[in-house]
Structure formats: C-alpha cells, structure tokens
Amino acid sequence: MANSSEKRPSRGALALLSERTIESLIYVCGFSAIIFVFGIFFFVFKEGAPFLTKLNFTEFFFSKEWIPTSTVQPKYGIGALIVGTVSVTVVAMAIAVPFGLGAAVFVSEFCTGKVKESLKIIIELLAAVPSVVWGFIGLSVMSPVIIAVFHVPVGVNLFNAALLLALMSVPIMVSIGEDALKAVPDSYREAAVALGATRWQMVYRVLIPAARNGLLAAVLLGVGRAIGETMAVLMATGHAVNIPDSLFDPVRTLTATIAAELGETSHGSDHYQVLFLIGVVLFSITFVVNLTADLVVKGIRKG
C-alpha cells in the first residue's frame, strides 16, 4: 500500500500552535511557584518593614520579654517564642520520626492485603482531622490525662502540644515514607533476600539506604507541618511566654502568637508590623530547614 511518491503526512498549523501554547503554559506553571514564593515573602516583608528602623535586633531575637500591648513601654522580644517553636517541634519530631518511619516500613514491607489497605486508610484519616479538633483533644482529653499520669499542675504544655504535633505529622511521614520505600525496585529486595538476609536485615541494610532521600523528604515534610501548625499549638501549649525548663512547662510559639494577636492590633501599628516580622522569621526558619535538607540530600547523592 505504501507509495513512496506520496507526500509524507505533516501536522497542520493548528497542531503546531496548540503544541506551542501547551509548552508555554507548562513553562508558566513551572515559574509560577517562584513568583508565588517571592510574592508571599515580599508582601509579608512589606507589612513589617517600616518597623525595621525602630527595631533593636538583639532585643528582638534574644529577649524573652514579649509585652506588645504595654501602654508605657511595649517590649518586642521573640526569644521565648523562637525557643517555644523550636522546642515543641524538636520534641514532636523525637516522637514522630521513629513512629512515622517505623509505620512506613511496616506498611510497606511487613504487611499485605487487607491489613495494609485498612492501615493506609486509617492513617490517612488521621491526616484529615482538622487542627482545631486536635487542639480540642489536647485541651479536653490529653490535658487531664497528662495531669493524672505525670502529676504536673498544668496539662496544657510543651509535651501536650508536641504529642499533638507528632500525631499530626505521622500520617504525612507514613504516606511519603511508604511511597519512597515502594519506589525501591523489587530486584533489590530479592537480591538481598537471596543473599540470606532476613526481612529486617533487608530493610535496614538495603531499603533504608536506597530510599533515604525519600525518607528524609518525609521527615522534613513532617517538620514543616510541625513548625507551621498554629491552631493546635495555640490551644495546647498553654500559650505562656516562657522558656521551658522541663517537658511540662507551658510555652508559646511564633505561629500561635501571630494567630492570637493579629486580629487585636490596629492596621499599621508597631505591634502589627512586629507580627509581620515574626512571619518573616518563620518563613526564614522553614527556608533554612528546606535548604539544609536539599544540601544534605545532594551531599548523600555525591557520596
């Protein structure tokens, strides 16, 4: 049937045009992320910037005196708030990382069929609980339990909030971590097992090294969730400006401070501007966390 003298079929102008359009659309999608990130940073920064001239940086970062509403001498020290955010996050991760990654390994490698499916669904349900509900659980359920179990005077404290954050970030870690493990080719598993490795040896000698980038990403998404979480920590930390001495001291976080106070300030006041600067600080913290992670991952790849 083929006739060599026949003209080769070529695509019409319309097809070419639509190809171009789609190409540029995809281009725009890619760059929009950059635009949005810088846009957010810019507008948050713009609201807080005028106060920078009046700001004493040492006091801002290292003082633990946060008295923004004083009519005599307002003080804007966020030292305690930074410590609050960091300590809640660290404790939450100390709980969530072993649990989250452990659950990911279990779901991906040690269970099959119905158990696996139902576990995945239930874990994802955990992710669907709104944060205000978590806060409510912290206030009304866990607080009395903590008082009863640990014999401490106040139940809403660092530990309570960290526990909530851990529960909130575990589902993300599990699903991302499981994806990372699932992406490891089965030939690795079979090779390891053929060498006489037990299931557990296969997991920690082969799968975890093979999936470490993905697992690290899982942990970092959990960290991001914990740092950024607002409502639950607002309700469960005790919301007291305080540098904690123990797990059971109340603390206050950067996010909760913004959420609780922004509505009360007048637009453009010093207090208002400082709250936006806190936003900038938060933004920088997450930026540094992500950047470190990227560098670590790159370092691993090279090695």
């Binding site: 030939s187 079979e190 060498l195 037990t198």
Partner: protein, 255 residues
Amino acid sequence: MPVAQTMKIEVEDLRTFYGAKEVHHGISFHIEPNEIFAIIGPAQSGKTTLLRAINRTLEFTPGSRMTGTIRVDGEDVKKTRSVYELRRKIGMVAPLPVGLPLSIYDNVAFAPRAAGITDRRFLDGHVEKCLRQAALWDEVKDRLDSLGTKLSGGQQQRLTIARALSHQPEILCLDEFSIAIDPVTTMRIEDVLKELKREMTIILVTNLVQQARRLAARTMFLWNGEIIELDSNEVMFGDTPKDRRTYDYVNGIFG
C-alpha cells in the same frame, strides 16, 4: 520415590503458577553434586522461575505458588527449618545486574555480615577473594568505597557474581550471567567456574547454547515449562539427541 541421598538437588513433579498461569507442567530431574548443570531454552520457558523456586524467592511475587517437591541436600525447601540458611547455601546471579545501592565493599560483604560476621580483617580478605574470583578485583581495588551502582553494566554483573560467591554457597545459580559481559571477560569467568566446580554445584541458565556446551556436563532443554530433553552433553549436542527439537534448537534451526 527417594532418589539416592547423594543428589544435590532433586525436583519432583514441580508445577509453578503465577496466578492462574501455569509455568512448569510437572517437571522432575536431579542435579548431582559438583556438576555444572546447564539449562537452555527460549524465553518464557520457565528457567528463571525454576531458580526462584529453588531458593524460594518465588514467593515474593504475589499470586505465585508451587506444588511438587524440591529437595536441596535431601531437605524439602518448603519445609526447611531456616529459609535464610537455605538461601545462603545458594548463590544467585540475576540476568540483569542488581548492584545494591551500597559501596562495592559493602555489596560483597553483605551476605557475610547478614550471617553475623563482623571481623574486619576476615571481611577484607574475603571481599578481595570473591572479587578476584569474579575477575573484578583489578578494576575496582582502588575504589572499594564507591557505589556499586556506579559501575558499568559488565562490572556490576561481575559484582553480583562476587556477591553470590561471598556467602560460600554450595550451589551457584547463574541466570544468563554473560548478557552484559564482553566475550573476553566471559571466558575469564568461565575459567573460574571450572575451578569452582570442585567446591560447589553450578546451575547455569544460558541463552548461549555454546556456553552450555563448553561448560556443562549435562544440559536440560526446557521449553514452555516442560523438559524436552535432559542428557549428557555428548548426547544433547551430538548428532542424535532423542528429540528432534533439541537438535534443531542447539543447531539454530529452530522456528
């Protein structure tokens, strides 16, 4: 029907399945100790599946199952006391090289470590010995710490051979080991195999009919999950194998 206890591997009425698809239709044969036993046959005839049934990695494929018996050293693999010990007894080299995402050293030291050996001096010597046997030592001795997955295809394949030797197996299964290796290196490894025969039993699955002819004492022609013919190489590669198809296959007249 117990065959004499001296058999290394006995297979009786083996049927394997992936879901509803039957791969082996009830095959029986045995492999003697310290022989090189070649399995030839076209793709999809069940060669790889047979190896996976022997070391029981077949069960990692969901929906797979087997009936019949496979005995290694007289022990039924389905009832073995420790499947890990069974697998350590069998060295497995897959057709496409699977360099584990570890350093070259750790790849080869994997199995001894999994068996609980931690003595660094022993491991050093052992890793070197295995890499030498796989004709890889000279090429990698200066970069044992770099990733095994970064080696070239042929080097990775030899790495998997070194790895398969690392747990001092009694049975070495080579599944088309020379696909990614140049002829010269293939010859070097074939020489090693002839040496190794003294220490272990070797099952050689190969698409290279001539390789089976060069190395094996007996060859099995597997086709569509059935044994067409199994005999000594003189018969299989001679002028008068029992089955016409064998003659056609080994002489390239097939199809």
